[in-house]
């Protein structure tokens, strides 16, 4: 019996290996930092992958990298391709350098990169760009969202509903978060002009938290803003939102605007959310890859950057408008402003503001007074 043991073990090993080989997964998603059910980026992406896979009977699977590093991302993508992946979906700009490498390594595999474009940029110690290039091969779909439009709608809705004292908390000053914040400011200004408010009638506190985690520090900061008169805070900071919601719950008539996905389920204080239609766009992009006659083929083009905006319903607010406390902002108003965004009647700037220029100067603000808290 003892002699047989190695033989049995060997047989099992072979069987297991064969067993693995047998099951292939065509669409692979690699998760970003955070988990598959983060109620945000990963989850939204995965929902799109799942929906397309189920509807068209294509095998799909998600892989979790061991750590947040380009090496591990590449390793995980290697693993996915070995596992039969023909399409690899990667959510988040952190995948940029990894996709830069694998787009050449696997020319036959299609990559969908959300919120980023493949590059091998290098930075010096103070974060200045010193080298590298951005290159998008023909097997890469590089999707961006017009966060500024989403933020714009949130700011517009808040002021239209009667809020005059707003706050913005971003996770970190990364491009996507910055665009949310800038859009929010512009939306508030636009609504104030429409309403014919006095100059400086809207005050807006603006701050980057430095992290995306729920912490008591964030809760305290939000509570202090609410105590100081802020009525609604737009939090573009992932999990940190729940700290702000806690602060809002502790007082009366204070509200939160959520981000990325509809966060109304987390707290009654969430009046609306500035969302990106992650699931929808991943679904559409997969359709373009698999279906030559796809109706979306003019939108999603391989080898170039695409910005998904209101014109293809890439961003927006959730359809429930009953949470606005003053009932001044309605579905009708939303549809009107959304159409204007679609038709590019309302210009929303997505330019990055240099640090030494004030919001007022950069966006020509009259109605909105921004207090930046560094």
């Amino acid at each position: 019996m003892k002699r047989l043991l190695p033989l049995i073990a060997l047989t099992f090993t072979i069987l297991i290996t064969l067993g693995c080989r047998a099951q292939k997964y065509e669409i692979a998603m690699i998760t970003d930092v955070g988990t598959i059910d983060d109620k945000s980026f990963n989850q939204g992406t995965w929902e799109g992958v799942q929906r397309y896979g189920k509807e068209h009977n294509i095998s799909h699977k998600y892989y979790k990298p061991q750590s947040k590093s380009t090496e591990d991302y590449i390793k995980t993508i290697d693993l996915a391709v070995k596992g039969g992946a023909k399409v690899v979906v990667t959510p988040g700009y952190l995948f940029e350098p990894a996709i830069y490498v694998v787009q050449d390594k696997y020319p036959d595999v299609k990559f969908i990169l959300i919120d980023g474009a493949p590059n091998n940029f290098t930075y010096d110690e103070s974060g200045n760009l010193v080298g590298g290039e951005e290159r998008i091969e023909d097997n890469v779909y590089s999707l961006f969202y017009a966060e500024e439009q989403s933020g714009f709608l949130a700011g517009y809705a808040a002021v239209k509903d009667g809020f005059r004292n707003l706050g913005f908390m971003g996770g970190m000053a990364v491009p996507a978060v910055v665009r949310f914040g800038h859009g929010f400011v512009q939306g508030a200004e636009y609504a104030a002009k429409e309403l014919g408010l006095d100059n400086g009638a809207i005050t807006l506190k603006y701050h980057y938290l430095g992290n995306f985690e729920p912490t008591p520090e964030t809760q305290t900061m939000a509570a202090s803003w609410y105590a100081g008169g802020v009525e609604a805070i737009f939090v573009a900071a992932g999990g940190a939102g729940s700290s702000v919601m806690k602060a809002a719950e502790a007082t009366e008539n204070k509200y939160v605007i959520g981000v990325d996905v509809d966060q109304s389920g987390e707290s009654d204080t969430v009046i609306t959310s500035a969302i990106k239609m992650l699931a929808t766009s991943v679904y559409q992009c997969l359709d373009v890859i698999y279906n030559d006659d796809s109706q979306y083929k003019n939108v999603y083009k391989a080898g170039q950057k695409m910005t998904l905006d209101a014109s293809i319903d890439g961003v927006g607010l959730p359809s429930d408008f009953s949470r606005f406390p003053n009932k001044q902002f309605t579905k009708q108003q939303y549809d009107t402003i959304f159409m204007k965004l679609k038709d590019k009647e309302v210009p929303v700037s997505k330019d990055m503001k240099p640090d030494n220029v004030t919001f007022e100067e950069f966006f020509n603000l009259e109605k909105v007074q921004v207090t930046v808290i560094s």
Binding site: H207, P216, E217, M221, S243, E249, A250
Partner: protein, 330 residues
């Protein structure tokens, strides 16, 4: 004046969990067992406590969910479960460091690594949480806006009896109980003896093993309770993190020189400094000073350094802290 009340109310949200957890750490360390597993135990307790809260709240109707006095009961049931879970979890640490004579720092670290992983694993395996790692709860009715009568007391009423969680009072109660137990009971004396000179305690007929077990279990119960209080008062969901507050509680414990009353003041001090560091932007007086935010973020650390350098005593912990009990040693 409103700003002052606000600051002090926020300070209590920070200070109470720190106080409870640090007092827990005190019991373990006074018995001679280093307990750096506080962070992990906090998490573990909070997780089970909030699962219980979610379980109860899922069965309740909207009316009950918004009823402040009935939700206090839910809060307390959760608190008891959290404490039990913390106590049970700490048994692992007790077994490793007392029976197996393992290095207490390593066993504590193991628990810290194990707790979040286990809670995520469990949360994802059960349909009850929709297979997600977050545990949501409705905390709105946990907050007591104003305690009748007492809330009208000038100043003190504003701070202690308005915008307050029942856990604040529980925290004070625990403080008083801890003081009595550690200084005024036979048990307290024996526990302290085991941390100072276990062989001497053993020669007087005290079972060192039993005392140390009790010390660790009490610390687990309090840490679990503190973790639960921490999440309930500062977030709307459990998300497998207590943001390093278990380690901060250790700092409070050392800062408070392993003595209940000093621990209380140390936790208030840390709480106030933390509050100042993050609330400055909402307080007109401080915001108008236009100081850079780094200045405020520095406050907790600079203040700690100053206080330590002014008030540093001999500041020794229990003599036998971290030593493995060897009955043969004299």
């Amino acid at each position: 004046m409103d700003n002052l009340y606000f600051l002090l109310q926020q300070t209590l949200y920070f200070a109470i969990p720190l106080l409870i957890v640090a007092l827990g750490g005190m019991f373990s360390e006074r018995s001679g067992i280093v307990n750096i597993a506080l962070e992990g135990i906090m998490l573990f307790g909070a997780f089970f406590g909030l699962l219980m809260v979610k379980y109860i709240q899922d069965m309740q109707g909207k009316e009950v969910l918004d009823n402040v006095s009935r939700q206090q009961l839910v809060l307390i049931v959760g608190l008891i479960i959290a404490s039990l879970a913390g106590g049970i979890f700490s048994l692992l640490h007790a077994y490793a460091s007392i029976n197996m004579k393992a290095n207490q720092v390593i066993s504590g670290t193991a628990l810290n690594l194990f707790a979040p992983a286990l809670s995520i694993f469990i949360a994802r395996s059960i349909p009850f949480t929709n297979y997600t790692q977050q545990v949501n709860f409705r905390g709105k009715a946990f907050l007591i806006k104003k305690v009748p009568v007492l809330g009208d007391i000038p100043f003190l009423g504003n701070i202690l009896f308005q915008q307050v969680f029942i856990t604040t009072f529980i925290g004070f109660l625990i403080l008083i109980l801890c003081y009595i137990i550690i200084y005024k009971t036979k048990f307290g004396l024996r526990l302290r003896a085991c941390g100072e000179h276990p062989q001497a305690a053993a020669s007087a007929g005290v079972s060192v093993m039993k005392m140390r077990y009790l010390g660790v279990i009490i610390s687990g119960v309090l840490a679990g309770c503190g973790g639960y209080v921490f999440i309930v008062t500062t977030s709307t969901q459990y998300n497998a993190t207590v943001s390093g507050y278990g380690f901060l509680a250790l700092a409070v414990l050392i800062f408070g020189e392993w003595k209940p009353v000093r621990i209380f003041f140390a936790s208030l001090f840390f709480g106030l400094m933390k509050t100042l560091a993050s609330a400055y932007s909402g307080i007109p007086f401080l915001a108008n000073l236009k100081l850079p935010s780094e200045f405020y973020r520095m406050i907790p650390f600079v203040a700690t350094l100053i206080v330590l350098s002014v008030s540093a005593h001999k500041g020794e912990g229990p003599r036998a802290l971290g030593e493995i009990y060897d009955p043969g040693k004299r």
